[in-house]
Each structure stands twice: as C-alpha cells, then as structure tokens.
C-alpha cells in the first residue's frame, strides 16, 4: 500500500517535473531556469502558502491542541540541532557540524508545500496553524547552531556574539519575513475578504503550476549539488537520509501524542524531517563563515529534499494511515 502511495506520488506533476530537472542536469542539457525568476517563484510560493495559512487560521477556532502543536514544533527546532551536532562533531570540525545541525533543525518550505499538494491530491484536510508552525520552526535552529559553533569552536577574532546581527539573520531573513508577513496579512484581512480577493492567484491551478515549474528548477539545482557530495563521504550521505526519516517519525510521534489530524501529522513530519537549503544556509554563511557550504547545502538540497518529496512524503503518510486507523 505504501508502495502504491509512492508510485502515485511519483506520478504527480510536481514530482515528475522535479525528475525532469534532475534528468536535464544529468544529460548536461543547457536547460536553465533564469535565476531571478527562480527567486521570484520561491517568493510567490511563500506568499501564497503564508496568505492561505493566515486565512485558514482565521477560520479555525482556537484550541489547546493548536498551542501544543506550535509549542512542540518550535521545541524540535531548538532541540534537533543539539543531537545532530553531538553526532556530527565526532566526524566533522565544529563549524561544519554546527552548520549542518542548524540546517536539519530548521524546515524546508518546498517540502512542506509539496506535502500540502500531496494532501490535496489525497483530498485530506490540514490546519492553517501548521503554516504558523513552519514559520516558527525556521529560526530557532539557526540561533542554536550559531551558539554551538561559538561555544565549542575557538573564539573568532572579535569573538563577541553580535546578537542583533544574529537575530536579524535568524528572524528577519527574506523567507521568514515573507512567510510570516503574508500569514499575518492573510489573518488580518480575512474578515474583509482579503483571501477571497486573491485565492485564484495564490491557490488552485496557479499554485500547482508554479510549484511544478519551481520543482523543475529544484531538480536542475539538486542534481548539480549531488556532485559535490562525492567528496563528503558516506557518513554524511547516510546522515541526510537517516536524519530525515528519524526526525519525520519523531514528528509523527508528537502529532500522535497531541492527537492531531492525519493531515497535520504529515505536515509536521515533513517540517521536522525536512532540512533548510535557503534561509539557513544564507544565515549560516554569515554567522558561521568557517563552515563549508559545499557540505550543508548539498546534504539538504541534493539528498534530504529529493528523498523527502519522492519517497518520504508517501512513506510517512502510509505510516500515519496505519497508526491513525489503528487508534
């Protein structure tokens, strides 16, 4: 049955366009998505999912379950980097271990969005607060990662931690701001029909179509990055997959304990199991300059992301269906 889900997922347009992009890179095609457009498409996706999330929040009446979910989700973003760091620093220099830890503590917006479109195709509902969860989970891991790098690493010259800098990079980077901002706007304008006035632009076919084109680009880029991994060795390759599964299962467990819906459970699994490749690398590049981006970017973008969108999402959902039906 989980095989069915995986095959069905494989036959969904977004995944197939991702694979088309991978194929294009592997056969050395000259296909490329213009850089500025790619950045705009990712802005659009954050705008769309955030706006919708805010609207859905305004719909859903407030419940303790929501608070628990948001709290637990945020907690994972604080805690996950700790054990990732503990494991990785055995093999890697402190800065690299800390950077990768931050990457896996944070979230992958596109994995989340792909999961959302997966739920839609399975016509399963989910709560708007999950988008709030994503927004809350992006930043803490960055702070923790940087602190780990500072505490365990040798003092940088001018070693004082520049908290305002760090805060800005963690909480005010472009991705977080657009996601949070759009969500708040969606929430604030829900009454006056804000969402209603843009939903055909920010949802439905437009959203699905842009996701296809963006995943085409993700495929082009991810396949390029995989090459970088040749050097990085087996341990890290294994880590990128195992971390995804283990963290996803942790997410499922939390959702189960909270007693949230199957849809929310899948989204939490993708948030906890995902790794950031835009927001965190951008922040870490500034805050942990000694860390080598050719490690943390390829791991999250070249391995964890493809694994999650192709196999992870349906796999996690199969597990969830089992657990939720049994209970």
């Amino acid at each position: 049955m989980s095989i069915d889900l995986i095959l069905n997922n494989l036959l969904s347009p977004p995944i197939l366009f991702f694979l088309l992009g991978v194929f294009a890179t592997l056969v050395k095609s000259d296909l490329e998505m213009p850089t500025q457009v790619a950045r705009f498409l990712s802005l659009y996706l954050l705008f769309a999912i955030g706006f919708k999330g805010g609207y859905k929040l305004s719909e859903s009446d407030f419940s303790p379950e929501i608070v628990l979910m948001l709290g637990a989700a945020t907690a994972t973003s604080f805690i996950i980097p700790l054990w990732c760091f503990a494991i990785l620093r055995r093999r890697l220099p402190v800065p690299d271990a800390a950077a990768i830890a931050a990457t896996y503590g944070s979230v992958s917006a596109v994995t989340f969005i792909t999961a959302v479109s997966f739920l839609k195709s399975e016509s399963v509902e989910y709560g708007g607060h999950m988008i709030a969860a994503m927004a809350l989970m992006e930043s803490p891991a960055i702070v923790v990662g940087v602190l780990l790098a500072r505490w365990f690493g040798e003092r940088e010259e001018g070693g004082q931690i520049n908290w305002s800098e760090l805060g800005r990079e963690a909480f005010l980077n472009g991705s977080v701001l657009v996601l949070m901002g759009s969500m708040i706007i969606g929430l604030a304008t829900a009454r006056n029909g804000g969402w209603a006035s843009v939903d055909q632009f920010a949802d439905g076919d437009m959203f699905k179509g842009v996701l296809c084109l963006f995943l085409l680009d993700m495929g082009l880029v991810a396949a390029k990055r995989i090459r970088d991994l040749k050097e990085s060795g087996f341990i890290l390759i294994a880590f990128s997959v195992i971390a995804a599964v283990v963290h996803a299962m942790l997410g499922i467990g939390i959702a189960w304990l909270i007693g949230s819906s199957a849809g929310d459970a899948l989204l939490l699994a993708c948030l906890v199991g995902g790794a950031s490749y835009i927001a965190v690398p951008a922040a870490v590049r500034l805050a942990i300059p000694k860390a080598n981006p050719s490690l943390y970017v390829p791991m999250s973008l070249g391995l964890t992301f493809p694994f999650n969108v192709i196999i992870g999402i349906p796999l996690y959902y199969a597990v969830i269906k089992m657990l939720w039906s049994s209970s």
């Binding site: 998505m33 850089t35 790619a38 680009d217 880029v221 990055r225 490749y277 951008a282 590049r285 973008l301």
Partner: protein, 97 residues
C-alpha cells in the same frame, strides 16, 4: 590624468555589505559593484546557486590614490582571510572631468 591604483575584489555576495562599509571607511571617493558573478577558487566552484545567495560572488572595482588604496587593502584583508575571495591591484590613470 591622475595616477591611481585600480583595486578589484571578488567576495561572497553575502559579505559584500561588510566590504562596502570598509571601502567607504577607507576614504575612497567611490566604487563599482557587479553583482551575481560566478567563479571558482580555493573554496571550489561558486557558479551561482539559483536558490540562495550562498554560492554567488560580487565583483567590486575601486579606483583610489596610493595611500587610500593601501589603507583599503589593509582593512579589507581580514574580511578576505575570513571569507575567502580575491584582491588584485593594478595601475591606471584616472581621466579627470
């Protein structure tokens, strides 16, 4: 015609603002920035990662008199040491207008 030093730097897009602060502080009368250039060096290829600005460089040109140039190079060094990058210096004459 005035003899000047032509300083050209390549640095991570992410660290460009810091470098520009240094340039302004050095007393240079101006600078030119070419954004989003690609390249390769000790830290491997940086061919412009379409999804973030982690693998992107900026190319910066500064024309300045000898003394200011020396100060600028001296002040920029720590940045280049920490973040990598390139710094070339050559001679040129500035056409006054």
């Amino acid at each position: 015609m005035k003899d000047v030093k032509r300083i050209e730097l390549v640095i991570d897009a992410a660290h460009t603002p810091e470098l520009i602060k240094v340039i302004r502080a050095s007393g240079a009368t101006g600078f030119t920035v070419v954004r989003d250039v690609q390249g390769s060096g000790d830290r491997g290829d940086r061919m412009g990662d379409e999804l973030g600005n982690v693998f992107r460089n900026c190319y910066i040109i500064v024309a300045a008199g000898e003394t200011i140039a020396e100060k600028l190079i001296y002040d920029a060094r720590p940045l280049l040491e920490r973040y990598g990058g390139m710094c070339l210096v050559s001679n040129a004459s500035w056409i006054k207008h």
